[in-house]
Symmetry: C2
Subunit: 194 residues, 2 copies
DNA sequence: GTCTATATCTTGATAGAC
DNA sequence: GTCTATCAAGATATAGAC
């Protein structure tokens, strides 16, 4: 299977389309024909770029995780304070959600994990680990700086924070009018502040 | 469409099977044939009890919400302290999750909301509203009693709490080894404690 | 790289016998 | 209430022409 860094422009467009569909309908809710209609080529042409649905989703999640790595790096470059970084992190989710209430790709796929090809489920797990590690580091820094209370382990707070963000998107989607992830993040951060 | 309170034993078994399938695979991930194999009758017999998939899911969510209403009542009967009630609430999610990492029915369906029949999506929204209302009341009580900090609105904390619980199940499913909703709840409750 | 055509399977759903 | 038989539509996927 190809690596996402060496794929053609058309393959890129296919992943773009598939990603939007996954965020709105899930893995079991979209078909190659849906993708074909969006990018404007026929179904078998999609298969030429990604032989199996499993391949498409794997590369898609790899690219998504890679983009997230970039976001995290960008946040560290733009904000010095761990609290600002944690708020900026939530803003990434908010941006996704504000686009037609799209879910986090891995939030959706994580829920569907049991009906995912194993290779795809592995990629999803990697995404979560990457994010939890980064959040733990930021929260640890904040605790060291006395900005966040130290009565809970950084890892536990990281899990609670990411869970709340992913869950906020599910609630926001499932209800009509509800606050997005950014608002839930603000609530969370103000409760853990020292 | 029938009300869940007036359905036959076989219809009950069908809903049981469908609920497990939804919690593990989602709405788009299970078929009438899957249900048929579990309950031991043929696919058209399922249609006899629930003409359309939409009917089945609607009644299923109605029953689920009703059962939850019962849980809430039971919690209020068994615990006097709002903090104990909030912890007991999380235990309900933990119990669900501990059974093969099953998701909350409405957590899964909320994520899939866009590809749900509208009537089913409405029922899911009702479930969330019921839970947020109850949680807001409990958290409000806790704030009045001085057990929870009052720097955030009870409604905001309720949303954060429910989001964290739903998200914890998604993370727990998507990763291999992660804490369940009860652990995330403990973290949350200890951060908001006054 | 894209297409038409096709294979094969599964899906939700119906008709009608028992 | 349950069954067999069947349908039309949609799914993933492949073969082979252009």
């Amino acid at each position: 299977m190809k690596h996402f860094s060496e794929i053609s422009p058309m393959a890129e467009r296919i992943i773009d389309a598939a990603q939007g569909l996954i965020q709105q309908q899930g893995y079991n809710g979209f078909s190659y024909d849906d993708v074909a209609k969006i990018v404007g080529i026929k179904k078998p042409s999609i298969h030429h770029h990604f032989a199996k649905k499993e391949d498409l989703v794997c590369v898609l999640v790899q690219r998504y995780t890679h983009q997230f790595r970039g976001e995290l790096l960008s946040i560290e470059g733009q904000h010095a304070s761990p609290m600002d970084r944690l708020a900026a992190y939530a803003a990434v989710f908010e941006q996704t959600f504000n686009r037609d209430k799209r879910l986090c790709v891995c939030g959706m796929l994580g829920a569907e994990s049991d009906s995912l090809p194993e290779s795809a489920a592995d990629e999803v797990a990697l995404f979560f680990k990457l994010n939890l590690d980064w959040l733990s580091r930021m929260i640890g820094d904040a605790q060291t700086a006395g900005l966040i209370k130290s009565n809970c382990a950084a890892e536990s707070l990281a899990q609670a924070y990411l869970s709340a963000l992913e869950g906020a998107m599910v609630l926001g989607r499932g209800m009509r009018t509800v606050q997005g992830p950014a608002d839930i993040a603000q609530t969370f951060l103000s409760t853990v502040s020292a």
